[in-house]
Symmetry: C2
Subunit: 442 residues, 2 copies
Amino acid sequence: MEVHQVVSGAAGGEVPARCGAGLFSALDKVRRALVAFGAKLAKIARDDPRRVAHSLKVGLALTLVSVLYYVRPIFINWGVSTMWAVLTVVVVMEYTVGGTLIKGLNRAFATLLAGFIAVGAHKVAYLCGNNGEPVVLAIFVFLLASAATFSRFIPEVKARYDYGVTIFILTFSLVAVSSYRVEELIRLAHQRFSTIAIGVATCLFTTIFVCPVWAGEDLHNLAAGNLDKLADFLEGLESECFRENAPGENLESKPFLQVYKSVLNSKASEDSLCNFAKWEPGHGNFYFRYPWGLYQKLGALSRQCASSMQALASYIITLTKSQYPEANMELCLKVRAACGEMSLNSAKALRELSEAIQTMTAPSPARTHMSAAIRAARGLRAELSQDADLAKVMHVAVIASLLSELVTQTKKIAESVDNLARVARFKDPEDTQKDVVINVVS
Amino acid sequence: MEVHQVVSGAAGGEVPARCGAGLFSALDKVRRALVAFGAKLAKIARDDPRRVAHSLKVGLALTLVSVLYYVRPIFINWGVSTMWAVLTVVVVMEYTVGGTLIKGLNRAFATLLAGFIAVGAHKVAYLCGNNGEPVVLAIFVFLLASAATFSRFIPEVKARYDYGVTIFILTFSLVAVSSYRVEELIRLAHQRFSTIAIGVATCLFTTIFVCPVWAGEDLHNLAAGNLDKLADFLEGLESECFRENAPGENLESKPFLQVYKSVLNSKASEDSLCNFAKWEPGHGNFYFRYPWGLYQKLGALSRQCASSMQALASYIITLTKSQYPEANMELCLKVRAACGEMSLNSAKALRELSEAIQTMTAPSPARTHMSAAIRAARGLRAELSQDADLAKVMHVAVIASLLSELVTQTKKIAESVDNLARVARFKDPEDTQKDVVINVVS
C-alpha cells in the first residue's frame, strides 16, 4: 500500500510535467505550421496582388447582391427567387473580365432559352391530363438532358458553350419539373430570370469597374514572358558553355536548363485566356476585335522553340569538358565561337521582340541581332563546307546523334514501364503461359 | 400601260419561279448542312460509344431524381428543397466515376461545413438586434467569401477542392443571408443537406453501376496509346528515310511527322485523369491505391521523347535526297543503316512496352529489340570513332546544328511578331521618337 502510494505519487509529479512539455512542443509545432502557412499565403499575395483584389471583389459583389434580401420591398416582390441572384454571383464571378463575361452571357441566354422551351413542354404535358403529365414531363427531361449532354462532346460547343449547356439542362429540368407543382409558372420564370440578370449585372459591374483583370492583357504578357524565358535559356547557354572560360561542368543543376519548361506547358492557359480575351470590350491599347489569334500562333512557335531547346539541353548535359575534342582544335574553337555568337545574338533578338510586345512598339526593322545570328549560322556552314568530308557527313551525323539520343530516352521509358509493372504487380508472362498449359492439360 | 402590264406579267411569271428556285436551293443548303451535322454527330458517337451511354445516364439520373417531385408524400415533406436534388445531379454528374466522386464529395462536405458555420454566424448576428443583424451578416459574408476565394489561389486547394470552395461560398452565403428571413433555419438546412445527399447518391449510383467510365482505365489507355504514337513516328522514319529504297522526299506531308504532336499536349488531360483516378474504388485489374502517379512519370518521359522527335522532325524535313553526301559514301551508308536499325528496334521496343501496359503483363526481361537498338547506337559510335577527326568533332557539330536550327526558329518568331505588330497596329518607333522631339520642342 505504501509502495503503491509512493509510486503513484512519483508518477503524479512526472506526468503533468511530461504532459506540459508535450503540450508545449505540440503548440510550438502548430505555431510553426501556422507561420509557414502565413508565409505561403503572403507569397501568393505578393506574387500577384491582383489576387487579393479579386478576393475582395467577390466579397463585395456578394455583399451587394445580398442587400436584395435585406431590403423589404424587394424581398416581398421576389421572395425566395432572390436566392438565384446570390447563386449567380458565386458561380459567375471569374478572375478575368472575359471569363466573367462568357459565363454571365452563357448563364443569361441559356436560362432564357431553357425557360421558354420548358414552358412549352409544360403546356404540352398539361394537355395529357393529371395522370399523364408527370410521365410526359419525365420523358421530356430525359430526352433534352441526354441530347444536351451529348452536344457537349462537340468540340466547338465544349470550348465555348460548356457552361451554357449545363445551365440549359439545369433550368429546363427545374422549370419543367416544378411546373407540376407551381401554379404561376410564368411569374416564377420571370422572377428567376430577373434575379439572374441582376446577379450577372452585379458581377460585370464589379469585374469591369473595380481593379479589372483583363484576360487579353494577361495573354499579351504571357507571350512576352515566354520570349524572355527562351532568351534566358540561350543566354545561359552562352555564358555556361560557349564563353572562353565557361565552366561547362555540373550543368544539370543550372537554372537555365529548367527555364524553358514552363513555356512547353503554356498551351492550356494560353488557349483559355485567348478564348476569354475575344469577348472583352476594348481596354487600354487593346481595341475590340484585337487579333488575339495571332498570340496563339506566336505561342505555338515559342513552344516549338522550347521543344528544340529541350532536345538541345538533354544533349548539352552529357557534354562535359573531357569530351571536348582535342584533335582538330582549331576547327572546334571556331565552332564554339560561332555557337556563342548564335546563342547570344538570338537571345538578344528574342529580348528585343519581347520588349517590342511589352511596349507595343513595332520591332525595329534593322534587326541587328537577328542578322548577326543568321550570319554566324551561315559562316559556320561555310567554314564547315571547306572540310568537304565533314560537311557532307554532318547532316547525317546529326540525325544519327539525335536518334541515338532517342534510343536512350526509349530505354528510360522501358525502365519506367518496368517499374510500373513491378509496383502495380502486372501479371508475369511465364505464369500466364503456365495457366494456358494447365488449361490445356485439364 | 400595255407595256407595263406585259412587263409586270412577265415578271409575275418569273418571280414565283425564281422564288421557288431560291427557296429550293436554300432548302437544299439547309438539308446538306443538316446531313453534315448528323454525320459529325455520328462520328463523335462512333469514336467513343461511351459518350452516348454517358448522355443517356445523365438523362436517367435526372429522371430518377425528378421522381421526388412527382411523389406527393416526399414533396410535402421537403417542399421546394427538392429542387436541390435536381440541381446537384446536373452539376455533379461527370464523365468519369472519379470526376463524379470528387465533385459529389466536395459538394456534400462543403455544404455540411458551410451550413454549420452559417448557422453559427446567424446565432452571433441574432444577438445584435433587429437593426444590427443584416449589417453583421453582410460583414460575415464579405469576410468569408473573400477568404475562401483567396484560398483558391493556393495550388493544392485549386487542384483538389476548387469546386468545394465554390460550394462553400454558395452555401454559406445562401444560408447566412436567408437566415434573416427564414424562421426554421435548422429544418431548412437539414432538408437541403438531405436533398443534396440524395442527388449525390443518385449520381454515384448511375455512374458506378450503369456502364461506368473509369478515369483510371482512360489514363492507362492514354499511356499505352502515347507509346504507340511514338512507335508510329519511328516506324515512319525508318520506312520513309532510312530504308534502302526510301523515297526521302516530300516528307512534310507524311502523317508520321504529325503523330507525336498529340503526345506533346497530353499533360493537361493526364493530370486531371490521374487526379480523378486516385479517388476511384478498385475495379477490374486496378486495385484501390493503385500507383497512378507512375503514369504521370511515364507521361513526362513520353513527352520528352516526343519533344526530341519534334526537333528531329524539323531537321528531317530539310533533308532531301540531293543533300545526301556523295563523298565518303561508304560511311554514309553505314550511318544510314545504323539509323534504320535504331529507329526500327526502338519502335518495336515501344510497341512491346505499349502491349505490356495494355495486357498488364510484365514486359519480357529479354528486351531483344531494346538491346538491338542500343547495340546499333553503340556500333555507330564505334564506327565513327575509327575516323578520329570526325568522331571528336561530331558532338560539337551536333550542338552547332541544333543551335542553327534554333536560329531559324527564332527568325520565324520574329516574323510572327512582325505580323502581330502590323495587324494589331503597334506604335511605330520613329513616330514615338518624333513625339519625344515635339514634346521637347513645345
